[in-house]
Amino acid sequence: MRYSLAVLLKNALSGHAHWSPAWRDPEPKAAYDTIIVGGGGHGLATAYYLAKEHGITDVAVLEKSYIGSGNVGRNTTIIRSNYLLPGNTAFYEWSLKLWEGLEQDLNFNAMVSQRGVLNLCHSDGQRDAFARRGNAMRLNGVDAELLNGEQVRELVPLLDFENARFPIKGGLLQRRGGTVRHDAVAWGFARGADQRGVDIIQNCEVTGFRIENGRVAGVDTTRGHIRAKRIGVAVAGNSSRVAAMAGLRLPIESHVLQAFVSEAIKPLIDMVVTFGAGHFYISQSDKGGLVFGGDIDGYNSYAQRGNLPIVEDVLSCAVALFPSLSRLRYLRQWGGIMDMSMDGSPIIDRTPIEGLFLNAGWCYGGFKATPASGWCFAHTIATGTSHPLNSAYRLDRFATGHIIDEGGKGAVPNLH
């Protein structure tokens, strides 16, 4: 069913009792052309673009839990393309362009809101770094504006501009950045893929790979063996575990990142504001809650929950930036498991096993990349080669020395 105003009115008049499910709940078939392991945002987007861009519809997406249960529903919903390095800039800008047309493409309201992303700076050195980043972005056709303190004051008057340690001297603004309702992204891609014939199979955990003569032949799952000649793995924090089933060791550690939402208040912050000096980012959801996060906890974890020192750290950042939030209560906090790569950049590539493809290493920047990640991964799976947009995201770059260290930190995944 195509969603429209007419369909909405018709269903409203019948008490919303006759909506059909947004996607089917099929039994897994014995064999598919292509299997995507992981029904998160990236896996669903991959299946959607395999069907839409490459006409490959004999596809199953295998999800160990339910759609929306993983990181696609655990992030702070920010989209942006303010990257510095070649290899990253064009990829993330393509992602932002896909976001801009996504709702019409999917016929699904994902509440894409280009409210702007503002990175604050506090010193001459940081302003110089932002000028460099902004120039790199503009040279690549991405929008960027360097603001002085007065211009920031007009946009976000509640900030503590005279903070003794981090006085606010300006910022780098990307007006086309913003937020998206993350659950709707999962649902929209799931519905779009399903409409094109993709089977979305929930509660189906992959327990092993069948590999014959160096080629994948299928997967073993909790719902039986499923054959396929091409398999794409997009399982975020579980990348190392799943890759190990195929005998691969990855340049990845799994870490927990917490996010927070406050009680709902009237409109207060109308863009995404980030505080790089303390590592903190905040926006306000359409329901009124402030949505914010900070650093990862900093130790390996698969627990999907973190510890209190980071809670204190993130809330301290919130109050340092916006003193007026000091009496606000936070409502909920949760954790997601991040696939922290050794250089802070992702992997979208083939693997040494023929027919097995890997999409991993998103650190905590995976949400904004969802459409382009799926688009490029679909291209890589369908054609067997990288698209120019993901040609830098190679699995072997750690061995060849072509790492993409956007943060300039080295092989320390807990610091990216």
């Binding site: 060791r249 990855l250 550690e253 799994s254 390996n300 974890s301 510890n307 061995a399 807990n414």
Partner: protein, 95 residues
């Protein structure tokens, strides 16, 4: 999460800084095969379960310790001074 420092007793994890897995062994020297260096610098087992890891008690006794911890539950399975680790290959060769 609280970590049992062998020198100071049980302390909050905010006193410690995490380095990573204690399993990778540094290759003997720059003459070692490049694959050994790639393995040591970049590749990790990243287990879901018991993990041996290096923590520094930065805001305490400033010792390195090896903690065994379950990454699925954050349960601490044990801790010992880092000097219990095998020495790097180069040190053994020098003996």
């Amino acid at each position: 999460m609280r970590l049992p420092c062998p020198h100071c007793g049980e302390r909050g994890n905010e006193e410690f800084v995490f380095l990573g897995s204690a399993d990778p062994v540094r290759p003997a020297d720059s003459e070692a095969p490049i694959e050994d260096w790639i393995d040591y610098v970049f590749l990790r087992d990243n287990p879901a379960g018991a993990n041996r890891e290096l923590w520094h008690h930065t805001y305490g006794c400033r010792s390195w310790i090896v903690v065994r911890r379950d990454t699925r539950t954050h349960e601490i399975l044990g801790a010992e001074p880092a000097r219990s680790l095998p020495p790097p290959a180069s040190t053994s060769a020098a003996k």
